[in-house]
Amino acid sequence: MSESSNAKKASAGKKAPARRKSAAKKAATARKAAARKAPAKRAPAVTPVSVLIVGAGFAGLGMAIRLKQAGIDDFVILERGNAVGGTWRDNQYPGAACDIPSNLYSYSFAPNPNWSRSFSGSQEILDYIHHLVAEFDLEKHIRFEKNVADLSFDEKTGVWTATTDKKERFAGRAAIMAQGPLSNCSFPNITGIDDFAGKKIHSARWDHDYDFTGKNVAVIGTGASGIQIIPELVNVAKHVKVFQRTPGWVLPRPDFSTPEWNKLLFKKLPASQQAMRNLLYWTHESMALAVIWNSPLTRIAERVAKLHLRRQVKDRWLRRQLTPDFTIGCKRVLVSNDYYPALQKDNAKLITWPIARISEKGVRTVEGIEHQVDCIVFATGFDVSNSGTPFPVKGRGGRVLGEQWKGGAQAYKSINVAGFPNLFMTFGPNSGPGHNSALVYMESQLEYALKGIRKIIGENLKVLDVKEEVQQRYNKSIQKRLAKTNWNSGCKSWYLTEDGFNATMYPGFATQYAAQMADFREDDYETA
């Protein structure tokens, strides 16, 4: 997958020479090893590090920081791009920002007193990530442009080997899959998309060289990214047509810039920032009651969203077009103050006719009209696999994870899978938050993985494998709890597989999740 030109720019000055040196050393070791076993058919063994991490986004880097803080320094991060940051490196479209307050959408073990707004923009989040890399001296551990294409476990040696698409190999005693839940994207499968002669841009691979001034633009998709991009485009483009399939629930966004005294307070008195974080945490926790389960609070949240719509949109028909017909929380709840007003500007138009096809000059909708544009922006989301793995993962006895997950992904506490020892997943099955910061969930995953890794290293284990029956028991209860949630209330979303199996979301409070992850039970595992 090609990364955006912006990502290249961001990383240009950052490629540390240390990286080259260590890569060169590695290659030398590999060559030596190869020389020893010269005639052997099998690829030579690679000296394993303690921990092999796939992905240099928030998750992979967070793991690295926690390892360092715990005194484990021999780990390697494999990153297919040429810069760190994952989501925030890729999603640099105009208007990109987090929709969880920055004080909560950051690591508690590395707070940032300088957030400029309550909801920071993508660039500021990326800066924070770069700051983490610098502060914890992570660059030397990262191997860029290593696109992992296979991850296999050797039971005899107790070693995971990652093979890249260029057939380079890296090995580790424990492996962390931190390749991100939303890191792969492609243009949607709309008839005629290849016929379009104008410019095509995907929201997660923005082309910063394209000038929208004076252009007629179509935006396909009105999800989290779409509603952030649209107001920005309406400001610069000649005309913007927004193609919507399903309207989402939009809540007002209490966004404001952080006053200087506040930054100073956070700097001088870190406890005050922790207090702020706690307050935000509990506010979001209470949202769980509205978003996850169908409760009186759900109705209240829907009322707030409807009032927001009513206040911002006066035309009855437009309001009807923008009113969702599913329970709030069933899909990601959107937050925005400027989306509805943008749609009503003179140079914008919402189109709800189904798309029939894309033609050479634009988008044809079913009411028979061809909407001609210079550029189509696809804010159509990501390729998420909730019933497979992004690359083959092979565990004990050659079992393949993707095959085991055909009917829907399953894990123990979202992090381990029976038959795949010493492997930890961030953002694994049923770890998704619907109402709180992903990083809050991530932190508890990192702590859990750290406990497992310490055990592997400390007891010199070859195998730390969750017991099959433990995993099954866990999933039975998870699925039972999920059945009562809004996600499983009958609406289609990327949270569910084609058959409606929910392998994505965690049915509970972040606090519950944190409690479950804080509890590492040795006898849940088989060791060797």
């Binding site: 007629n216 000649k238 005309h239 035309d315 009855r316 028909w317 437009l318 009807r320 017909d325 140079n347 138009k349 006719w353 189904p354 029939a356 096809r357 000059k361 044809r364 909708t365 079913v366 009411e367 028979g368 009209i369 061809e370 909407h371 001609q372 289609k492």
Partner: protein, 310 residues
Amino acid sequence: MASIDLDKMLEKIKSTQWALSDIDWDAPGAELITEEQWPKLKEFMADLMWIEHVGARAFAALSKKAPTDTLREIYSYFHAEEQRHANAEMALMRRWGMLDGDEIPEPNVNLRIVIEWLDRFADEMPVYVLGTVVPMLEIALDGALCTFLLETVEDPVCHQAFEKINDDESRHLGVGFTVMEMQGRSASYIKMVQMMARVMDPRLILGIASYMPLLNKMRDNVIAMGLPEEKLYKAMQKFERIGGRTEEGRRNPWFQLIKQHGRWVTNRSNKAYHVPVDALVKITGLVPRKALPAVPSWVKELTYEPVATR
């Protein structure tokens, strides 16, 4: 005839779409409209176009109400397809020089009343009411009127457009009747009583009151164009024939009701029905346009331009 498979139908709908630009609206043949035909045809087309548009709005309501994902999606396509018919008919009117500048033709008062009713109440109507009324409207007004048109107009472009429109219509009817049968199959006694109770709903009475004169008005239009009114009635009897072809269809109380209404309409000697309804047509004809509220904004989406650049 067995009911159709709705999932397959949805696939077929998606894969067989047409656009206004598939037709050359400037091709020769416009001159085949006779001078004598022209004024009546103009009024007829304006009404027809509005009926398509009204049908579109009814499908919009169904697309929110239908009981399954598949049906909801089918209806959202039908909503757009009816809009396409209205757009295509407007393109024909433009071809024939029937539009005053770029103006959308004014709907007649009966239609204005129906539009008003739909805008206010359609989304609140139970799905089984709309699901039955819509096929009736489709057959009586949409389907039948199109056939008449082709018998009087020789312009090949008109025939080309209506061939496409009629293909869409046959799918609308197929789905409409399948849904009526589905309703008949599941309607328990209690639900039937519920349905009947709905008749007393004042909003529904309003709807019926606006729908009845519309049928009579269209009958008058048809006669004015020199077509035998029996053809309209025959089309309405088709509703009775197809809708009542299965036990389930017949068991749908709404089918019974609409069918009965259709019989009244087609029986000119039924004075009890026609005298008051014709009077309503006359009265509504007298309603000054200014007295009606502003048209809802969905009406402004109509266009005869195959291509939109902004």
